[in-house]
Amino acid sequence: MPERTVILNAPAIQRALTRIAHEIAERNEAGNEVVLVGIQRGGVALAQRLGHLLSGIWGHSVQVGKLDVSMHRDDLDQRVAPEVQPTVIPFDVTDKTVVLVDDVLYSGRTTRAAMDALNDFGRPKRVQLAVLVDRGHRELPVKADFVGKNLPTAQSETVRVHLAETGEADEVVLEKELP
């Protein structure tokens, strides 16, 4: 049984997302050009929540898509084939500001794959990255524009993000295997 430490509870997750939404609004004043794309699977629900918060701030609806990066991963021949989730981007990303949304930023490899995958849908004007937790240990030159919580971790630890959308209580947990 791993040791569990709750890093963010439900109100803390909500506060973090509200702050990220305001930061996105501050950074992108012409809000009508901003679209959100959640990375499967953890980023999808977060992108939808940010979309609601941003439409409240801007007073108009914000388009939200979801992106699966399995086919663009760089480790496909080193592992069992990943489960492919749907990619649904029902709008043109060309000349938009696309905010990629993910739950945890770790090696940066998923973000790289997501940028490649996004390229197949058009040429965004700019791409920004929003994550709920940045746990460090980057293996690629990737940096998030918007971070809910910076969390120093050891590589042996696991960060788990549970969200109401997947049938669990909102919670970010750090798990440590006991020796």
């Binding site: 990375i39 499967q40 699977r41 953890g42 980023g43 699966d68 399995s70 086919m71 663009h72 496909l76 021949d77 080193q78 592992r79 069992v80 084939a81 990943p82 489960e83 492919v84 989730q85 749907p86 990619t87 993910d102 739950d103 945890v104 930023l105 770790y106 090696s107 940066g108 490899r109 998923t110 490649d116 995958a117 197949d120 849908f121 746990r135 590589q155 042996s156 630890e157 696991t158 788990r160 993000v161 997947t166 049938g167 798990e175 295997e177």
Partner: protein, 359 residues
């Protein structure tokens, strides 16, 4: 396997059956703590696919078949984009070894491989040195020397793909072996039925025609019965022997009975080239007794769909206007074939690697 977690995780409804005996896939990488790779993705959902080859349908579990179908759905979406190519097999080499003539399957595999960014070598019966007396084993060893990662093989001898799987390191995909199996055809048929009907379980599926020589009939039977459909084989008694009942099919020689309750009518081509002697008096007689015409179509369920693996013989097993009617999904089968073959290549690529996850 974690079929329950897959069920929840799916945004596209996936009808999961309790799989029949599932092989123990709990390889050394499960429950060891090393599984805690996973930056952004939550604990990697263990895919129900650990195979390096696709040799037949008979040995697959229901869960494995559904994994291919689910994966194919994502690849079908890729084919509908402006940019229809993904880098999943970048740097990999695929050999298409078509010892028996084939046009549509070969073209479908080629385009699938290109859409996955693989490099491709095509061997065909006419051009290959097998015509010059080389054995399959020697051909295979030459392919190995090219460092092929995947070999897609079509061969007139049943079991040829299994043989290659034993002697080579490459992943082998069976593109049709003799009268044995044609796994990707069965997967694309199953995909098409599921997409159109929303399910497989409980459907009545009639396979009508030259069943005796048909690898499609055998592979379809395995795939569809594993997913809970009822499969009926129908045709002249010389082409549809009772022995198929032992494989789980219902056998009838009465076409009216076979089509009356069918949700799907899958027509098979009369394979002149495989018939060693005449199995029925004439094509004309076959058409009048078993061909699908307007009158017979009127006696089917109004929502019954017409399928055919192609190439169709208009005016023999199917009336020309029926082949083109709205209930015919023959061309959709072709489109879905690409998605299913991309999914198979994608999955066996993962099955090649060490069965362990590392960051």
């Amino acid at each position: 396997m974690k079929s329950s977690s897959r069920k929840n995780s799916h945004e596209w409804e996936a009808e999961r059956l309790e799989p029949p005996p599932v092989p123990d896939l709990s390889g050394p990488w499960r429950g060891t703590g090393r599984f805690s790779f996973s930056p952004p993705t939550p604990p990697l959902p263990a895919m129900s696919w650990n195979r390096k080859h696709l040799l037949d349908i008979e040995s697959l579990t229901a869960d494995e078949i559904l994994t291919v179908l689910d994966t194919a759905r994502a690849f079908k979406a890729v084919g509908e984009r402006a940019i229809k190519k993904v880098p999943a097999l970048r740097g990999k080499t695929v050999v298409n070894l078509f010892i028996e003539p084939s046009t549509r399957t070969r073209i479908s595999f080629q385009l699938s491989e290109q859409r996955l960014s693989a490099d491709i070598i095509n061997f065909t019966a006419e051009a290959s040195s097998l015509k010059k007396g080389e054995t399959l084993k020697d051909t295979a060893r030459n392919l190995e020397a090219l460092n092929a990662d995947f070999i897609v093989i079509r061969h007139s001898a049943s079991g040829a793909p299994h043989f290659l799987a034993r002697v080579l390191n490459a992943s082998i995909i069976n593109a049709g072996d003799g009268a044995h199996e044609h796994p990707t055809q069965a997967l694309l048929d199953t995909f098409t039925i599921r997409e159109k009907k929303g399910r497989i379980a409980g459907l009545n599926i009639t396979i009508l025609g030259d069943v005796l020589y048909s690898r499609v009939a055998r592979s379809d039977l395995w795939a569809l019965t594993k997913l809970g459909a009822k499969v009926t084989f129908c045709g002249p008694s010389t082409l549809v022997p009772r022995e198929f009942e032992q494989m789980g099919a219902r056998v009838t020689h009465d076409v009216e009975e076979a089509i009356r309750d069918a949700d799907i009518i899958n027509l098979l081509r009369i394979q002149h080239e495989r018939q060693r002697k005449t199995m029925f008096p004439s094509l004309g007689e076959y058409t009048s007794l078993f061909g699908l015409n307007k009158d017979r179509l009127a006696r089917t369920k109004p929502d019954a769909l017409i399928m055919h693996p192609g190439p169709i013989n208009r005016g023999v097993e199917i009336d020309s206007e029926i082949a083109d009617c709205p209930r015919s999904v023959i061309l959709e089968q072709v489109t879905n074939g690409l998605a299913v073959r991309m999914a198979v290549l994608f999955l066996v690529n993962g099955g090649k690697g060490p069965q362990e996850i590392s960051a």
